[in-house]
Subunit: 524 residues, 2 copies
Amino acid sequence: MTEFKNLDKAPSYAALKAAAPADLHKELNAERILRSNIPVGGGLTFNYACRPVTDASFSLLQKLADEQQVIDKYKMLLSGEVMNTGEKRLVMHQLTRGECAGSVTADGHDLGAFYREQQQRIAAFAEKVHNGTVTGSTGKRFRKVIQIGIGGSDLGPRALYLALKDGAAAAGTLKMEADFISNVDPDDANGVLNGVDYETTLFILVSKSGTTQETLTNQAFVLKKMADAAIPGLTPSRHMVAVTSATSPLAKSDDCLDAFYIDDYIGGRYSSTSAVGGVVLSLAFGPQVFADILAGAHEADLNALNPDITANAALTDALIGVYERMHGFGATAVLPYSQALIRFPAHLQQLDMESNGKSVNRFGEPVDYPTGPIIFGEPGTNGQHSFYQLLHQGTDTIPLQFIGFTANRTGNDLSIDGSTSQRKLNANLTAQMVAFALGKEDDNPNKRFAGNRYSSLIYGKQLTARALGALLAHFENKVMFQGFLWNLNSFDQEGVQLGKVLTKKVLSGDMSPELKAFDSLLNG
Amino acid sequence: MTEFKNLDKAPSYAALKAAAPADLHKELNAERILRSNIPVGGGLTFNYACRPVTDASFSLLQKLADEQQVIDKYKMLLSGEVMNTGEKRLVMHQLTRGECAGSVTADGHDLGAFYREQQQRIAAFAEKVHNGTVTGSTGKRFRKVIQIGIGGSDLGPRALYLALKDGAAAAGTLKMEADFISNVDPDDANGVLNGVDYETTLFILVSKSGTTQETLTNQAFVLKKMADAAIPGLTPSRHMVAVTSATSPLAKSDDCLDAFYIDDYIGGRYSSTSAVGGVVLSLAFGPQVFADILAGAHEADLNALNPDITANAALTDALIGVYERMHGFGATAVLPYSQALIRFPAHLQQLDMESNGKSVNRFGEPVDYPTGPIIFGEPGTNGQHSFYQLLHQGTDTIPLQFIGFTANRTGNDLSIDGSTSQRKLNANLTAQMVAFALGKEDDNPNKRFAGNRYSSLIYGKQLTARALGALLAHFENKVMFQGFLWNLNSFDQEGVQLGKVLTKKVLSGDMSPELKAFDSLLNG
């Protein structure tokens, strides 16, 4: 029977606590680099040569994975057990990209069939928009799509769209430009809507519950702006589709042309491969590109089933991350050497920090070990000219996750001073990994680099749609495994509730003296 | 005589270490909120009611400031002492916005006069571009400006541009759209240049040394793309101006129409108020808007001279930050409730982490206390649906810096369900501050909020250009004061050198086995 127990109850916990982080000055060499590779899926590989594990601690991590029965738990999740215990829900995002453990039936229907049906409906809708069968209400073709959503309805889809946009534009395969409105700050909607041609714009309203304050406010905002534009013959409802649950008020709203469905088993931050990402990505790039993302993610999901950690990239990444937290490292920086991944760190920030930023275990009992780290990051080489100073010479060690590709997305490049820009980009990445790991001695302590600043690398030939799907799933599965190891429920987010309750109090005027005091400052 | 000594040599250090962070459940009330306010400048106010200080520890912080003679050091800096000891340079960014301590002469000339002269040259140039006296080489007016620069030549100017853009567009005062190319990844330049009309575009090449690899590569990239466009009559050099030091190879380059100058006394991350920010901001918004930014920053610089910490917002912010680092808090999140400040956290990330991410003091001796924290952040309310879960209920406490305004930038808003979007935005901000500070008890530990998650608030009526300048200077001065307290040189960045050296080795083929191994992975 699968046992859910806290990390510090695992037999190998004490040995891992006692095992000092690897000294890369002794451990790192070319041979270690060339053997520390695990396939991710989608043509990507995970290299952990510069992470703080020795052969001995790596073996202990395999033991820990076995003791915490993480593969069994993953199988339970895949096969439809109620793994989101707090909210009493299944966790089905992997099923949006394919079956890993057979079909799952709930609420009287086959969930995989339901997700496939939605994907097919989205594909058919996108084709109709692209070929002009579905047009705007004044008869003009849709040229632009704007997604209205926040959190998981924004960060993942936006990161994936930006990852593929410039490459598609360069290849002439960008079917529609996309933009996103998320913040309740009216400057967000005003900025995005500035200069928009409503006749040729399709809005996607995304809210699982159909009750998200920001999203409904922004929907009303958009409808008002459309009405203010006073375009003869324009019918706003024919410029809006919804992505929501079948039971939400938006599902049958007169405000929308059509609706595509998700269900309660897809958490917001895990929803990029559901209709939440599917509609905007299929409209922007065509249904096949979205299908390729799903295929890459599915491949990574299948690889994550391997109980041998030397063949399971997501699990190894998760285990080393847990080990790093045991040894006092409080943060992880995500550093893609790919401008296309500019907002991918922001998506991972939500994915990881909202999933595992918890202090109680899945039974609601406090844990007494550190759980999820801070996640932040920017693309390289930009970050090198920004926060890398602290990463190299600051007083705290911050483990790093590099991402790099042999070829760039747009295919366009130029040789300058004997090397292409892509070659320079990757030379920087290689240099940074070794600089962080091995440092440099110097008589001047201000020019000294201690090394042992740990990192890993996910690399591949190119950031294709399939690679992007695998990259996304790698981190989803890493976060899931870390939740299993820490014995957390990675699928709820009770920490966001109190703010919602107090916001309502402020808006209704029913304020405590402290709320009233801050409110008075902000009201000038 | 001003004594530079390590933080732990200050007499009040031990008492501050021993003083436990405030329990806000006991300390926080409306009276504390209403009295914990300090003017920043530019119409902004800093509120520290929810930071972890009691009246007793606040008094100790005043003592610490006095013992570390931080105001004396600030005056030394302002009056032209060599405060960047490692690089043997003056530190003059405050002088770009006005004299705080009289004139400063170096290298045989008055530096303030030099910065003013550059500002006037920029203003005259911008006017000529705006009125059509200076046009593109085919006779068309310039409509767009694209800055090529990285790090400090990118993050600050970009953050300031984005902060003012949508408001200016809504008011009809946006004179030119701006964009930015920074990353050596060719996808960055390809993405920005996609669809650009070269005839009406002016590029600004920004590199103090004139030798930055990324920037020179991107300049060559842009010139090649312009040549490839084969536009009859187009002369690329008439579409490019430089911002550089007078001694750099770019200063008299035939590639450029004109050049505007900075000097070695303006560090990259402190250069937004020099020509580095001045050219793009004056072109985008007009010279008066840039002058307003400088005026706000100058006001904050003057306020930072006050030795009484109850009247010096930047110094109080700095002191509390140092206290938080003493007590084990490893990061600070910057959370602007203003979509316009979307990239301001990324600028502060560089400003802070590159300045104080150091392990040796200004004499090159190791320090044995934690220095600069991790800085990260995203605008609210977006962050609430992302990483706030960890901020509320994670195992580590992360102090927060909120920023908010009574009115939005674009002036356009709408009342929905009884409140405007701006009102909802600020209700969320008020709610979050109180939720973080006071938490909430609950029988279900998963729904429990411990509180004592510390935060401060910078607030004002609206994010005007003047307020934006003050906000920028507040953080610059905070970082400077923290450097004085920790006894660091906040103005060098030796931690970025090793990567540059190893990158050259990779590109030249002169690689260690470890470099070679990683290089082979990335080359497919």
